[in-house]
Symmetry: C2
Subunit: 478 residues, 2 copies
């Protein structure tokens, strides 16, 4: 007698990501009960086994695990597009805006980024943000899976006014204390909340932005609570300069000596990591978050993810910040990751499509400590998956003899807008591109309104004259 | 008294591409009569001036010139996805399929590529194809602007069986004659047809693939007819090897000596061009077609477009072939061009958004000899433009104070699927994403059917064992 389930998905081009590849199942099916996948396999096997409250016919669609975006700063979606094509993106692009950011603008940014990412098939968002009231609630409401990292640093609350390039950062222990306390408050409140859909990490922004004692304290707090540490590591020459001046060590050596390099660490960027440092971090069991689009645009650099993986390391993808990357779309990150590495190594065989698809799904899940719950479609795991229309002019044709083109086409030709339906923990949060948990039009209007008001505040502050794009505008280029 | 026009577009974020930048007009308008733009400017100026048969309210949209894809091989859309992640894409990816291509598959590919490109905002397609019956008619029917180049070469009609890597190509004068005659037939029939919407070029596939006498004959025929020459130049080490063995010269020197380097030439790829050769070609007045996505994927190389432009050369963008690039989308090419060059030069200021937008519009139009007719929005030019919804989560917010983010967001965040409406020569050929000139569902079904049949033919031919992707499939990776 058929067992009852809540949802049965039938007739998909199924990419389970089981095994060491993409785990393709022709005419595949999923059975979902509550928040859990109870069965995964061929439609002809599952169809007679289950009586479903809802059936989704996925003919002409690929079904795959929801995508994992391991490193984002969602608030900056509200200033999308202010920090490209500039050598010093932070100072000449983002900073004039970030100093005028308020809680309303931050929240509008997070909500805009949630809708953008969901509509591009992201189901897990690893958000790294200076917390504001209602931050975590945005994810609770949207129904996405979130891994929240409240920013910890000891930078002075009034900003870095008076600080000169080359000077040591004026670290402020009280500011550090306040941000640690705030982060702990959020982690204690939200880790494991919403049926486990929300998890947290502790996030020292960088080893250069907090004193050693407080950094080590954060490390101990993470161990006590069994939380991961989410840290920008070797992210720029400014960081390396600070570390050398303060400790006489570059970041990776400093972290190794202080017991911070291990499998509890999610190390972001590694932009400036040498080969030896990359090897050291990979060997430690630490995981890497690779933000190809962002680092490519703002630095013109391809981070050492290929080497990190060759040394046995686990790599997640991240979209970083929309002010510089301009989009939060893991389809975009998969494609750019494959292409940038082919170019970096001048070798078209580096990072084939199936490898980057694993980085966007199962490998990303493992990197953020959720590999046993999400990232692949198998019985017992959470029902986080996306339904992607592949019967569309830019993804056709679909052949699997003599070779299967589905995965190269998803990675190299999909835009993210082919995602039709998004399911997280068994709940459909987007159907036929309609977001069901939020009002998209309200989110859009709110983001546009807050951005205009933020722009006005920046325009009134003489600091706006530092904006690099201003020059292109004034000469009629932009 | 208001003059009557056929179409008035109002309230757009208008990018005219006039001048040296993007020619932004806030709350801009276009007036169209017949196939021509009769007025371009602020809505408040144009609105009282004209009585329009049709008015398009473009509030929340960007309106810009239709995008120019200067170099494509449309037939290969029918084998999208067979030739990536492989060191020898031609032999280990495309060749087993191309030897089994027939006219029906070729036509299905062209039509699929037309719909794909149109839906991504391309209005001018520079197609380079071995002609088959009905090829040009596809473009006539679709209503796009096309610049058609029938392939000319002297490769033996039965294929290269028996040829060994390193040997000279077995050039066949009769084959060369037949392809020259066929090309001339098409150019004489179609150049200037459809009210000038279709133009043609003469296209020796490469200087290595036809004998010198016949190549020079093609050059003379182009001069007599005032047609451009569309040639793959320095496109690979195999070409250079052939040229050195046959003539003792690399391609650029050979072309210079034979009078083929001048402003009649559209030189494609320049993958293997040295700095000196790049300078030589740019100085000659020849134009360059840059296929960033394709060459990035199949070769892992960034062609020398930045240097070509620094030397005063004009560069168009092209999507090349879907079997390797996997998509024909100039939004994609603009983004990849900017990013690849930032990475190549490790400099985020190289190729800013506004420059690549010019390459995808006015500079592309100039490169293919149509700069006086299309590529910018100004009175007297053809009415080729696209309406792009920017009130969408991945492109919001839109601010223009203190800096304007529209162009960075279009280049770095748009996917092409935000294009709503496409107008070519005053005729609306896509409205609200519905293609009006072709049946999209028929095109999709035809492409899928032909691809399956082509796949069966390839699977029956033992040559399919050479396919690189087969190995990934057999080991469960793909």
């Amino acid at each position: 007698m058929p067992q009852s389930v809540d949802l049965l998905v039938l007739h998909a081009h199924l990419l389970t990501m089981q095994g060491e590849g993409v785990g393709y199942v022709r005419d595949g099916a999923l059975a979902v009960r509550g928040d859990t996948l109870v069965d995964v396999g061929p439609s002809e096997a599952l169809s007679p086994r289950y009586q479903a409250a809802e059936t989704l016919d996925a003919t002409g669609c690929a079904v795959l695990p929801g995508l994992v975006d391991a490193h984002m700063h969602t608030v900056y979606a509200v200033v999308r597009g202010v920090a490209q094509d500039v050598a010093n993106w932070m100072q000449k692009g983002l900073a004039p805006f970030s100093r005028h950011m308020n809680d309303e603008a931050a929240r509008a940014g997070t909500r805009l980024n949630i809708v953008e990412a969901m509509q591009a098939g992201t189901t897990t968002m690893g958000d790294f943000v200076r917390p504001y009231p209602g931050w975590a609630e945005c994810f609770a409401e949207a129904g996405l899976r979130a891994c929240l990292t409240p920013t910890i640093n000891a930078l002075p609350p009034g900003g870095m006014a008076g600080w000169k390039l080359g000077d040591l950062y004026p670290l402020d222990e009280d500011a550090g204390r306040a941000s640690i306390d705030a982060a702990i408050g959020i982690c204690d409140r939200w880790h494991g909340a919403e049926g486990g859909r929300i998890t947290t990490m502790l996030g020292p922004q960088g080893t250069d932005m907090i004193g050693r004692e407080q950094l080590l304290e954060v490390g101990r707090l993470a161990e006590e609570r069994d939380l991961m540490l989410h840290v920008h590591v070797a992210q720029g020459d400014r960081e390396i300069d600070q570390m050398l001046k303060r400790y006489g060590q570059r970041t990776p050596a400093f972290m190794a000596e202080n017991g911070l390099l291990n499998d509890r660490l999610l190390a972001v960027h590694l932009t400036e990591a040498s080969d030896e440092e990359t090897d050291l971090i990979a060997a430690s069991g630490a995981r890497m978050a690779l933000c190809s689009g962002s680092i490519g645009i703002i630095d013109g650099i391809v981070p050492p993810a290929q080497r990190f993986r060759e040394k046995g390391g686990i790599v997640a993808l991240g979209s970083d910040q929309a002010s510089g990357n301009n989009c939060s779309n893991i389809f975009n990150e998969m494609k750019l990751t494959a292409l940038f590495n082919k170019i970096h190594y001048r070798n078209p065989e580096v990072m084939p499509a199936w490898e980057v698809l694993r980085m966007g799904t199962i490998e990303g899940a493992r990197a953020i400590g959720l590999g046993d719950r999400i990232g692949s479609l198998e019985a017992g795991k959470q029902a986080d998956f996306i339904v992607v229309d592949v019967d569309t002019p830019n993804l056709l044709p679909i052949i699997d003899a003599p070779v299967r083109t589905l995965v190269p086409n998803l990675v190299y030709a999909a835009t993210g807008k082919e995602v039709q339906t998004v399911v997280v923990a068994g709940r459909t949060i987007m159907r036929n591109r309609e977001v069901l948990t939020l009002s998209e039009s309200e989110v859009r209007a709110q983001a546009q309104g807050e951005a205009l008001r933020l722009g006005e505040r920046v325009a009134r502050d003489p600091v706006h004259r530092e904006l690099h794009l201003l020059c292109a505008m004034q000469t009629g280029k932009l």
